[in-house]
């Protein structure tokens, strides 16, 4: 039976933990809002980029940029976006599992570019080949933070060392739901233009459409990775917020159980004390008679 003081100390300790998880929950909520704003901010650029790319690709039909060429083969580079920190539930595990499944099925000769410490550490522990890494990204990553790692992946493709470049990250669906997404970056698959939307214009190109396409395609891929990194941030903060909420709730339950236990122990000790007094008094009364 733990003593009253032990239980009291325990309650105090759990209360402190609860305060921390509660604070972290609030912090995550704020960071989530900021991350969502950042995702929003990339939209105008990304949408325009796609529009221009679609138009240009339609014009430069004879020209086949290597990024548009399909390759048969089992070699793949996975750009794996994970978080730098833990305490965010199963977020990273889900992403990594989804990414590995695709790689094992389609590209057994897999190599990895990791954006995020958790993914990097896990891949290294599994003895996978990590060819580039960008970890410990700031809370508001700029595109310059992710570019070098992406460039490594794209160069591998240009040099013919890989048959595909893939992207894996946690898509933000709602505060309660984040989904692992794995998709192919290169060869580039341009989404179909929306029905009824005519090509934007018959441009004059400066320089030629082929060269414009050369400049556009890598940037398109880079933008997609950058967006994935930002969206993964939003997912991270959502997941952490929920994890912290669960921890706070669990701490509250625990405190309740401990308090109940404490009261029982207190009551038991009072009862024992009373019994002692009563029986002592009884003994005195009997001996005085």
């Amino acid at each position: 039976m733990p003593s009253l003081r032990d239980i009291r100390n325990r309650i105090r300790s759990v209360q402190n933990t609860k305060k921390i998880t509660q604070a972290y929950q609030v912090v995550s909520a704020t960071k989530l809002r900021r991350a969502q704003q950042m995702v929003q901010a990339t939209r105008p650029y990304a949408e325009k980029m796609l529009e221009v790319l679609q138009t240009t690709a339609e014009l430069a039909t004879e020209y086949r940029h290597p990024f548009l060429e399909r390759r048969e083969g089992k070699r793949g580079v996975m750009v794996l976006v994970t978080t730098d920190r833990g305490l965010c539930g199963a977020l990273n595990v889900n992403t990594i599992r989804a990414a590995n499944r695709v790689m094992n099925e389609q590209y057994p000769q897999a190599r990895y570019v990791t954006l995020g410490r958790k993914g990097r550490d896990l891949m290294l522990r599994f003895r996978r080949e990590v060819i580039a890494d960008a970890s410990n990204l700031p809370d508001r990553p700029g595109i310059a933070d992710v570019l070098p790692a992406v460039t490594v992946a794209l160069e591998e493709y240009s040099k013919g060392n890989t048959d595909a470049v893939l992207l894996g990250y946690a898509k933000w669906v709602s505060t309660l739901r984040q989904e692992p997404v794995v998709r192919t970056l290169v060869p580039v698959e341009l989404p179909k233009r929306e029905e009824g939307k005519a090509p934007a214009a018959d441009y004059i190109y400066e320089p030629e459409p082929d060269e414009v396409l050369d400049a556009l395609l890598p940037r398109y891929v880079e933008t997609q990775v950058y967006q994935a990194v930002l969206e993964n941030k939003a997912s991270e903060h959502s997941a952490r917020m929920i994890a912290m909420q669960n921890a706070t709730d669990a701490a509250a339950d625990f405190i309740e159980a401990l308090t109940l236990n404490m009261n029982k122990v207190r009551q038991a000790s009072i009862t024992t004390e009373l019994m002692e007094i009563v029986s002592g008094a009884e003994a005195l009364r009997q001996s005085s008679q």
Partner: protein, 137 residues
Amino acid sequence: MPIPVRVVSVERSLFEGEADFILARSTIGELGVLPRHAPLLAVLAPGELRVDKTGGGSEVLFVGGGFMEVLPDRVTVLADVAERADEINLERAEQTRRSVQERLAGQVGTEERVELEQALARAEARLRLARIRRGGG
């Protein structure tokens, strides 16, 4: 007849407004856009982008490359890394230029050389622009 102009980088929107004239530097030369310009898509070189706003004043931005799309009713610039002239850190730009020059002086492969030269062009364009803004140089 003013043209609506929008300058966006991946990270944020840098300028949105109406302009009478836009001066950009494409990979094959300087490029001025007046209202009623024919539809155009240009690849931009690192350098400054000047937007003469309707009603006076002009916005000068630094772009590290990118694209400019001219449509009959609007102009959009997709800038790689865009900075406003007054945001440019002169010291950092100078430092970048020096370190790149030093590396160029040493032994480098062709591919690396091309990259370094681009970096140098960017750093120099930045410096030039920052100096203009400060009214010195």
